[in-house]
Subunit: 180 residues, 2 copies
């Protein structure tokens, strides 16, 4: 059984810094009217930079919702009207200083499709060239080097809780095993 | 450089159906006060049920934020005070009718750690026994069978955008290759 939900009306209930929250009324195919809450997010990118020898460059940063530091791939939000690929080039440079000869598309990722419109566009960066990182004000992070094999072992031990990071690592490993 | 952010104060700006939004003031180690917006979510579970022959049971359902149907592993939100494992048993039964001899922990997943407190606990379900599904009112979904190899090929072609689903599929494939 298919069930399409048609928006009837709605309003923005919260306008925030990163997200807005919209509360809509939607009509189900059985005619019933239901409430649908949507966290609106501009979307973003995540980039796994990897060397010829399999060394990956990740960032460790404090994440306020969990009050702890997390190991993640470099990432950031799309600016208004920005293309994902341009955003990936910018964020990679800002957070790690790298430019890359090649950004391989690892696909789009819907982080929480039940309630959030956030889409992250994931990339694998190869052919890395070092440069200077240049973080936003009040952005603090450390770049850390980890071998791809080490990251896979961490994923297997459930030690990479960040969704975009474990997806990028596992997809990159499959891709590189076919196209070294 | 480490940077811990200490909560100073804050308030709930939006109380919703699935989420609340809290806006805090936090103090950085350099003394500056910053705003931190947190989408509070109760957390949930996702379960990949798999047969002895590698057949996986996924659900296809309409996701309002994207106005489209998505193929996902069975999943659901934690009820107040509910343990993740109990929630996984309940959601597996509600959405697919299955009970499972074994629920293997695939780890916790932070869907959007930059702004959301959502944690999904992922499981692989084996030793499946069929039963009757019993969905919530206004919950509509179709159960679909897909081979694990087919799901891996879809992941490689970036055709599994749901984060929890691609993580569960890729982690399960690694685990089962070592422990068939």
């Amino acid at each position: 059984m298919e069930c399409i939900e048609k928006r009837v009306d709605g309003e923005v209930k919260y306008r925030g810094v990163i997200v807005n929250v919209r509360l809509d009324r939607a009509q189900l195919e059985n005619g019933r009217i239901v409430r649908r809450e949507v966290v609106e997010h501009p979307g973003g990118v995540g980039i796994l930079p990897i060397d010829e020898d399999g060394t990956c460059y990740l960032v460790r940063q404090f994440r306020y919702p969990f009050s702890r530091q997390l190991l993640e791939i470099p990432a950031g939000k799309l600016e208004y009207g920005e293309e994902p690929l341009s955003c990936a080039v910018r964020e990679l440079s800002e957070e790690t200083g790298f430019t890359a000869d090649e950004l391989i598309d690892l696909g789009a990722c819907y982080t929480s499709p039940g309630f959030s419109s956030e889409v992250l566009h994931l990339y694998l960066a190869r052919g890395l060239h070092a440069g200077r990182s240049h973080l936003d004000e009040d952005e603090f992070l450390n770049v850390e080097k980890h071998g791809l094999d080490e990251l896979l072992a961490m994923a297997d031990r459930c030690e990479l809780p960040d969704a975009k990071t474990v997806i990028a690592v596992l997809k990159a490993a499959r891709l590189l095993s076919k196209r070294p």
